[in-house]
């Protein structure tokens, strides 16, 4: 590791006398400048020792009880060459104790919250796991609320998140590989997959990409996603996020790979395609009829959201022959009172809608809902009364906005918003030609997208007969196969029928 300190000091071995090692650590950590790096000198079995730890990252109670008290209370003389093993095996009541001869490892552990113990007679340093930083407790997910299903969500602590997943997948097949990313300030990343299901080529590919991330610091999962995705210019996201451990585990069972990052309260699954972005977490928990209905409703909403503003402008401005006379008359009557032509007024209204939405999201709690009421109701009513906008325009924008909210994924909602503007502008310029041309461009782009080298629109296109849990949420007992997108090693989830207790009708 090359920490915040200079590169040359981090690459050095941690050897020499206690004073030399101490000086090396102090120089690398800039202890004279940083106030949270604590140094505690003490005597252990007659030998001088020193302990480095981070105030706030390590548990001071544990340091006192498990390191200082046992070491200082010892009176017996032990030869210095046995000190390390004697301390590890007999004295220190700490579950995870490691020895290192590398300064980089020592610094990484120190900044992860471990205590670093140096002593005369110990080669290198002892890394003592006494992490004890404050973290948020497990709470219900804020962005993936469900009516049916568990209410536990990921937190910012990587260890907690791994535990949450492990609690759901109590199997040795679940592999959790720890990888470090960021060359200046390293961060822990955990790659989780099921050994007998996730394909080896995907695992190798994601590791290759992670190792190829040449960046100083990864602040959040979004940055990691942008570094790992196949097509950075595509509108659609190529990874799916979840705050829910149960959903992350369901991704594992489909052969996907899940990434957990330190300080990220969500997991990222790859490869991911359009179906994953359209599915809500509680679809699988409901009976199949309800789940299927909700999915169809969601998809219709999304389609409406993308196409409706552009279609309305194209029909009324360029192809009025397609509208019935009564509707056309009504449109023209309402539009005649408005000073702006239809296309600019639709564009402005859509922009205002996005503005209200963004302001409502950024303004804190109670103010946000108030802002939405002011923006949505009062502004809308005032705009109609003042004849600034036609009521039909507001209805169309409201309907398309409502449709975009039906998207379970926030990334998908944003991509829908951009697609709305793109299609509206093309429709406003070229009518149906613009609308259909724009749709064609979007379709073509999305058909070319891959996620971890797998076609992201599969199994819609290319169609692959596998788990029928795509457009409709068909019954669980018919989902004998896993999804084909991730190309899992074992396609079948079970032998024979799932409702094995049920007697077949044609047999007595």
């Amino acid at each position: 590791m090359s920490h915040s300190s200079s590169q040359h000091s981090a690459a050095q071995p941690l050897t020499g006398s206690l004073d030399e090692k101490k000086a090396l650590i102090k120089s690398a950590c800039h202890t004279d400048l940083s106030c949270d790096i604590k140094e505690r000198s003490f005597s252990c079995m007659g030998q001088d020792a020193v302990l480095f730890y981070l105030d706030g990252m390590s548990d001071s109670n544990q340091i006192t009880r498990c390191i200082l008290f046992p070491c200082q209370s010892l009176s017996c003389e032990v030869p210095p060459d046995d000190l390390c093993s004697y301390l590890t095996e007999h004295i220190l009541p700490i579950s995870n104790v490691q020895t290192t001869l590398q300064l980089s490892n020592a610094l990484q552990s120190l900044f992860n919250g471990d205590a670093l113990m140096l002593a005369e007679g110990i080669d290198g340093a002892l890394l003592l796991d006494v992490k004890g930083y404050a973290s948020r407790g497990i709470s219900s997910p804020k962005d993936e609320t469900v009516i049916v299903g568990p209410h536990e969500g990921f937190t910012e602590t990587l260890k907690n998140n791994m535990t949450l997943m492990r609690r759901l997948m109590r199997s040795p097949d679940m592999i959790t590989e720890s990888i470090t990313v960021g060359h200046k300030i390293p961060k822990q990343l955990c790659l989780v997959y099921l050994k007998d299901i996730a394909p080896a080529e995907s695992i190798e590919e994601i590791k290759r990409r992670i190792q190829g991330c040449n960046i100083d610091y990864i602040a959040n999962m979004g940055i990691l996603e942008q570094l790992l995705e196949d097509d950075p210019y595509a509108l659609l996201p190529q990874a799916v996020y979840t705050e829910r451990p149960d959903r992350a585990c369901s991704f594992l069972l489909e052969g996907q790979l899940v990434l957990l990052l330190e300080n990220a309260p969500y997991a990222m699954a790859m490869p991911a395609g359009l179906p994953h972005l359209l599915h809500a977490p509680d679809d699988s928990a409901m009976r199949w009829q309800y789940g299927s209905f909700l999915r169809l409703l969601r998809m219709a909403g999304l389609l409406l959201s993308i196409v409706l503003p552009g279609l309305y402008v194209a029909l009324t401005s360029f192809h009025p022959e397609g509208l019935p006379v009564t509707l056309l008359t009504s449109v023209l009557e309402t539009q005649s009172k408005v000073p702006l032509p239809l296309f600019p007024s639709m564009l402005i209204m859509l922009f205002i809608f996005c503005l209200i939405n963004e302001a409502g999201t950024r303004v804190p709690g109670a103010l946000g809902s108030g802002l939405n009421i002011v923006g949505g109701l009062i502004l809308g009513q005032a705009a109609i009364t003042a004849n600034l906008f036609s009521p039909l325009v507001i209805i169309v924008v409201a309907l398309s906005g409502l449709g975009s909210y039906a998207a379970p994924s926030y990334s998908l909602t944003l991509s829908i918003r951009l697609a709305q503007f793109f299609l509206l502008i093309l429709s406003g310029l070229f009518g149906f030609l613009g609308l259909i041309g724009g749709l064609f461009l979007l379709f073509m782009r999305s058909s070319a997208i891959t996620s971890l080298n797998k076609p992201a629109n599969a199994p819609f296109t290319p169609y692959r007969a596998a788990n029928p849990d795509h457009v409709l949420r068909l019954p669980v007992w018919r989902q004998r196969l896993r999804g084909a997108l991730a190309n899992p090693l074992h396609m079948d989830r079970t032998h024979g029928r799932m409702r094995a207790w049920e007697k077949r009708r044609n047999k007595p």
Partner: protein
């Protein structure tokens, strides 16, 4: 606890490759079906129904001529080609193979011009505010943008997704027209004559062949082995389905409508919009127009893309033609559609039926070459 219930993989890697190959073939044929649909529709717009539709209808009823020929060609080529660098260059002496590929590319370019002329004519009817020559560049730009920096299989995947929705939309939109017609107008369909049957069959063969030849030889041995061993050759059914659907709708419109509508002198765009005007339903009209524009855009883009693939000799390698070639081809198709649409269409009507000739020549030449090689081997032995 073992999370995987099976001990052996359900799909081996070879099976997975085969499955992907099958899907790819199926989608390729769906794309061909859509192109065929689009061209039949445009032919209807040009009042070619006597010349093309009669023959196509009979050919599709009998099926044998184009379908069996292509299928036999697939088997023949798969037996005689060991490496699949390029379909024709592998079978023929290299210069001759390249010449054939370029000829096929030229026929695909003619298709693209034909479709672009029809599409711009349709849109000039719909977009009255625009002049005819301004519409073709917009279509060209949209199609070029859809091709640039995309993988070659994007349009194939898209056809797989839209094949049934597009056919369904056009059938749905055309359903009200069936009530308006008279069954006795159906009978002129058989009055095309031998010449029109022959030209129509050639045209169909060319349309199907341009899609099938690149599919015959993938760069994967298992797929070659499967074709050779006579296992299922997926996808041709979709071409037939596309063609039949188009013909059904054309027959419905052309022969079930009053003859004075057909006899009147009208532009291609007006004729293409004629079926939509029968129905007064707003969703029906919108659906029809949108589906037709999308269908023609797909057909135009795929013709340009395939032309580029043949020109670059990458028709069996899952490689896209370079973006510059695509842009150049789009640019080449624009002037005829912008300024000389009517005369170009008349010229193409006579020329397009002969687009099957390069396929027939290349197959014949490949057969001769393989026979010569066989004789040489025997003499050596």
């Amino acid at each position: 606890m073992k999370l995987t219930q099976t001990t052996t993989p359900v799909h081996s890697r070879t099976e997975q490759v085969n499955q992907r190959w099958d899907v790819h073939i199926r989608n390729q044929h769906k794309l061909t079906g859509l192109c065929l649909f689009a061209q039949l529709w445009l032919s209807h717009g040009l009042y070619l129904i006597e010349r093309v539709s009669t023959a196509s209808y009979l050919s599709l009823l009998l099926i044998l001529f184009p379908f069996l020929l292509v299928h036999m060609a697939a088997k023949f080529l798969s037996r005689h080609v060991k490496t699949a660098q390029s379909t024709l260059t592998a079978c023929l002496p290299r210069p001759l193979g390249r010449a054939m590929e370029i000829t096929i590319a030229f026929s695909l370019l003619m298709d693209a011009v034909f479709i672009l002329c029809g599409l711009s004519s349709l849109l000039s009817e719909l977009l009255t505010a625009f002049r005819h020559f301004t519409i073709a560049p917009v279509i060209g730009i949209l199609c070029a943008l859809s091709q640039v920096q995309n993988r070659p299989y994007a349009i194939v995947h898209l056809s797989g997704l839209l094949f049934f929705p597009l056919l369904g939309a056009l059938l749905f939109a055309s359903a009200p027209a069936l009530e308006e017609g008279n069954i006795y107008h159906f009978f002129p369909v058989f009055c095309g004559g031998i010449k029109s049957i022959w030209t129509g069959s050639l045209w169909l063969l060319g349309s199907i062949g341009c899609a099938c030849i690149p599919d015959l030889l993938p760069d994967e041995r298992p797929a070659l082995t499967r074709i050779r061993s006579g296992e299922k050759h997926l996808g041709i059914g979709y071409v037939l389905a596309g063609g039949l659907c188009a013909l059904l709708i054309l027959i419905a419109y052309t022969y079930l409508l009053p003859p004075h509508d057909l006899a009147a002198s009208r532009s291609v765009g007006t004729r293409l919009l004629l079926p939509a005007q029968i129905s007064s339903s707003v969703p029906g009209w919108t659906l029809y127009v949108c589906a037709l524009i999308l269908l023609l855009m797909i057909a135009y883009s795929s013709s340009v893309s395939r032309c580029g693939i043949f020109l670059c000799g990458t028709c069996t390698q899952e490689k896209a033609a370079p973006d510059k070639i695509i842009l150049l081809l789009v640019f080449l198709t624009l002037p005829p559609a912008m300024f000389y649409a009517q005369s170009v269409q008349k010229w193409l009507i006579n020329l397009l039926p002969f687009r099957a000739v390069p396929y027939l020549i290349s197959l014949f030449a490949a057969y001769i070459c393989s026979a010569v090689q066989r004789i040489r081997k025997r003499r050596q032995l």
